[in-house]
């Protein structure tokens, strides 16, 4: 398996006024294609920051991040946005669906940035919604869906563009046990059936258990276990 994500000696320091807060220190990490990786660690360990850096919504203070050969630390804002729309599917802890749009429209949202025809968009949206098992709920607005259902819509939104990398930031963190289980099963299927590379941050050992590999972060440093 070839390496999909290469994190090379990345350091991230946040500046709050004059105060400098180091979050990540000289981190290096390789994620091979097809991997299902869980990042674990206590709060404040920097795991979400690392995830944000890999998904290109934040930039490192130093070091480089290569995803499928592209050094995203070198991209400017608009190039990065374009890159994200093609390569990253992001699943948030609080689903972050747009409340004014229906499930169908929420999933369709990232496709607005593509040149797909109306028909192709429709096929894709319906396909992913049936993968997540919500084909019958596509006209519902987020408010009419349960937390687990909303997260499934969010996952559908994340994979509808067929991204290189699927990123999850505590995707089960706000769900009850049963719904969490469903989400983890779904992610597992996406990894095994659809060959999606997944990086997921979690503090729940049970959730981490569904991953192939677990990496621990503590005080901004990777600790191998």
């Amino acid at each position: 398996m070839s390496t999909l994500v290469e994190v090379k000696s990345v350091t991230k320091v946040y500046k709050r006024d004059t105060l400098e807060i180091p979050v990540l220190q000289n981190i290096s990490l390789d994620v091979p294609e097809g991997e299902f990786l869980a990042l674990m660690g206590p709060s404040g360990s920097g795991k979400t920051t690392l995830l944000n850096l890999i998904s290109g919504i934040d930039q490192p203070t130093s070091g480089s991040i290569l995803v499928a050969g592209t050094d995203i630390a070198k991209l400017n804002e608009s190039a990065l946005a374009k890159w994200r729309s093609r390569n990253i599917g992001f699943v948030f802890q609080f689903y972050n669906l747009l409340p004014v749009l229906t499930a169908y429209e929420n999933v369709e949202l990232p496709l607005l940035l593509t040149n797909l025809s109306k028909k192709e968009k429709k096929e894709r949206v319906e396909a992913v919604l049936s993968v997540v098992g919500l084909a019958d709920r596509m006209d519902h607005s987020p408010r009419q869906l349960s937390g687990g259902q909303q997260q499934r819509v969010a996952i559908a939104r994340a994979v509808v563009t067929d991204p290189t990398l699927l990123i999850g930031d505590e995707p089960t963190g706000d769900l009850d046990r049963k719904s969490a289980e469903e989400i983890l099963t779904l992610l597992g299927r996406l990894n095994s059936e659809f060959k999606k590379t997944i990086i997921m941050v979690t503090h729940d050992p049970h959730a981490a258990g569904s991953a192939h590999k677990i990496q621990h972060l503590d005080k901004g440093e990777l600790t191998s276990q």
Binding site: I57, D58, E77, S78, A81, R84, S85, F92, V100, L112
Partner: protein
């Protein structure tokens, strides 16, 4: 679905707020239209006046009369075809309220409708007007407002020309186009002159101003100069100018009031801006997390700016359109309240264009700050925001 739909759906998120904002803008645009229309109605006389008519008045002010003897001298000036004359009578009809004010002017029955070719009077009515000493002719609008009919007697108390005056309606004149002033009353100058011998000796054999028709409107400057040159060294010097310039000098008398009305109309734009900016800033702040999500999905700052500006423009244009549409009936109603003060009270095309332009401009400006802030926002900070 496209981004426009998202704008539209966002608009419906806080229906009450959007509605109130649209209403607020509509009211302000309405006020803007009304004020501007007052300003244009004020100077309407300038628009309606003809370029081939000259007015000769006393050089200092038209409240000083000119000798009647000037008439034949002016007639002799080359280029002049007809000379008519008039006196401002003023007087009080019923009381001094706005409703009962209308221009009452002593005119020469033989020539007045020759120089004012935009007014038509039926031949038999004009003949009756010429025949009877105290006859008068009233405008159609004026007749409608006060219910004057042919044969009616109009009683006016004189102030400049003291005494009680009685005029018999001999005819009703109609304007040939929409901009003609149909609110005046004309009566015989001879009647005024005769009675002024007793009550206003200073005004006897004097006229307020001469109205001169010229053969070629390009000659206006030369003819004006020729007339004024005759009286350069006499006690009552004249000032001759086109009717347009004459009307303009009237309007400029109240320049300060017009300027302040214009100023106030710009303050309205400021108020619209405050109301709209408030709404857009609030909406953008509430959605900062959503914008961060959109950016995570690969939407650019440009898209987010478009969303905010789109919503702002949508609201401002809806409000602007509603305001302009509302302004039509309101202007009509307002004008109907002051038929003689504003003979023509109609919203001008330029007013509508300005109102529309300002709505769009305000829509853009209101979005600048929140759009800038959302564009500059770091995704990570935006996601952390609790909505």
């Amino acid at each position: 679905m496209n981004v426009l739909k998202l704008v539209y759906k966002n608009l419906l998120r806080h229906k009450l707020r959007s509605l109130l904002t649209i209403l607020g803008i509509a009211v302000a645009v309405l006020a803007f239209g009304l004020l501007r229309t007052v300003v244009t109605a004020w100077s309407y006389g300038v628009e309606a006046s003809s370029a081939d008519r000259l007015i000769t008045r006393h050089a200092v002010s038209f409240i000083f009369p000119l000798p009647y003897s000037y008439k034949s001298q002016i007639e002799a000036v080359p280029g002049v075809t007809t000379v008519s004359y008039a006196n401002w009578f003023q007087g009080i009809y019923k009381d001094q309220s706005f409703e009962n004010f209308f221009p009452r002017i002593a005119v020469d029955p033989e020539t007045i409708f020759k120089v004012y070719s935009e007014y038509s009077v039926p031949d038999d009515q004009l003949a009756a007007f010429k025949k009877q000493r105290n006859a008068c002719i009233v405008g159609r609008k004026l007749a409608e407002q006060h219910g004057f009919k042919i044969g009616d007697i109009i009683n006016v108390r004189g102030d400049i020309y003291p005494g009680d005056w009685e005029f018999v309606v001999a005819g009703i004149y109609v304007g040939n186009d929409k901009s003609a002033d149909e609110t005046q009353m004309f009566f015989q100058w001879d009647y005024l002159n005769e009675r002024s011998r007793q009550v206003a000796a200073w005004a006897t054999d004097h006229v307020g101003w001469y109205i001169i028709r010229i053969a070629n409107m390009n000659d206006a400057p030369a003819v004006s100069e020729a007339i004024d040159a005759i009286y350069l060294n006499s006690a009552a010097k004249t000032k001759t100018e086109t009717e347009k310039a004459f009307q303009q000098s009237f309007v400029s008398l109240s320049g300060a009031i017009i300027t302040s009305l214009e100023l106030v109309s710009y303050v309205i734009i400021g108020i619209i801006l405050m109301v709209l900016a408030n709404t857009i800033i609030m909406s953008a702040r509430e959605r900062i997390r959503e914008y961060a999500v959109l950016k995570t999905l690969g939407f650019t700052s440009f898209h987010v700016v478009g969303l905010i500006a789109g919503e702002s423009l949508f609201i401002s244009m809806l409000g602007g359109t509603a305001g302009i549409l509302l302004a039509f009936p309101v202007c009509e109603g307002f004008g109907a309240q002051f038929p003689t003060m504003f003979p023509v009270f109609k919203m001008a095309g330029s007013t509508i264009a300005m109102a529309a332009a300002f709505s769009i401009l305000v829509g853009v400006i209101a979005a600048v700050f929140p759009a800038y802030r959302s564009a500059k926002m770091q995704i990570v900070d935006g996601l952390r925001q609790i909505g």
